[in-house]
Point group: C2
Chain length 204, copies 2
Amino acid sequence: MTVETTMTRPLAIDDEAADLLFREARSIRTFSDEPVSAEQLAEIYELMKFGPTLMNNQPLRITWVEPGESRERLVPAMAEGNRPKTQSAPATAILSFDTAWTEHFAEVFPHAPQAVEMFAEEGARLEVGKNNAWLQAGYFIMAVRAVGLHAGPMAGFDADAVDAAFNEGTGHRSFMVINVGHPGEDAVHERLPRLTPGVAVRTV
Amino acid sequence: MTVETTMTRPLAIDDEAADLLFREARSIRTFSDEPVSAEQLAEIYELMKFGPTLMNNQPLRITWVEPGESRERLVPAMAEGNRPKTQSAPATAILSFDTAWTEHFAEVFPHAPQAVEMFAEEGARLEVGKNNAWLQAGYFIMAVRAVGLHAGPMAGFDADAVDAAFNEGTGHRSFMVINVGHPGEDAVHERLPRLTPGVAVRTV
């Protein structure tokens, strides 16, 4: 970080990292032929796993769908506009939450495993699982960028069909599908406007 | 980034940034007297606002609670174990989602404002608003760290009481409270275990 940067922007990471993760990062909709490596995909989890969750519950489950037979099963479950993207991405992750995340509680919260009783009621368990998996999805997208890849997150898909094809018997429920790779031609539209701090932020 | 790092870890950000954001970052529970600056708090939004959301909907609303009268109203709404932390943090953010996020849709999705009709039904609108605000909470925590501050996210509070005290008449619903500052004494316990890739990740 240069002195000038320190003086103009109070960042603890350098401008290049801030651009890569936040300011210049874009959701991409076309992919080049450049492959992704198994090491890169593995590293995404090795970074994002450290993001905090409620009582360390970590309900997110990641299913990497490889090109070939698996992808052929995924593409028809995507909304029509998301099919060409998903067909051309070198890797695609289905993000699900584990409805039975409490089964891992003693492992992730070893100093007070009895606290799992707070989530005995199914509604509370599902709600906490889903919310914290969405939180982890934010870490996942940041980690995709941190390893030098680009993410194309999608909500347009038939979650029941994805669950039938990929989550059968697991108790996992899909909530987001993210294409991962390098930008192809016309990978992005013009960036859409962000809300001003006047709308999104206040101080009391 | 050194050549060695490139060879052993496929990161696009340097190790210092990866440690700051992910690997060494911790949720803190005590705070030092070191103040936070208004510029740092403002920069958090200037970074996190770029994180992707469904149709760019950006439902997260941030309320910074300053020490003094505002904080005195917040502390009693926190779970007992979270009160000392919240009392001693130099800044605290209430994260809420806007139940009426669709009112800003034409501004954030100007090329297809009619798509807002997909969310005419209240249940769908609330669900999409809440989920995407949790997603943005992930970006928020990463941005806190990117400006060199530490986050202490908390779910233990009375959301109805927080909404009554801070969200009256806004249609915003609180879902997380995050203390922000610098670590004090005994700021962290030993890090809790993360799930192995064998539990959280699979490839099909």
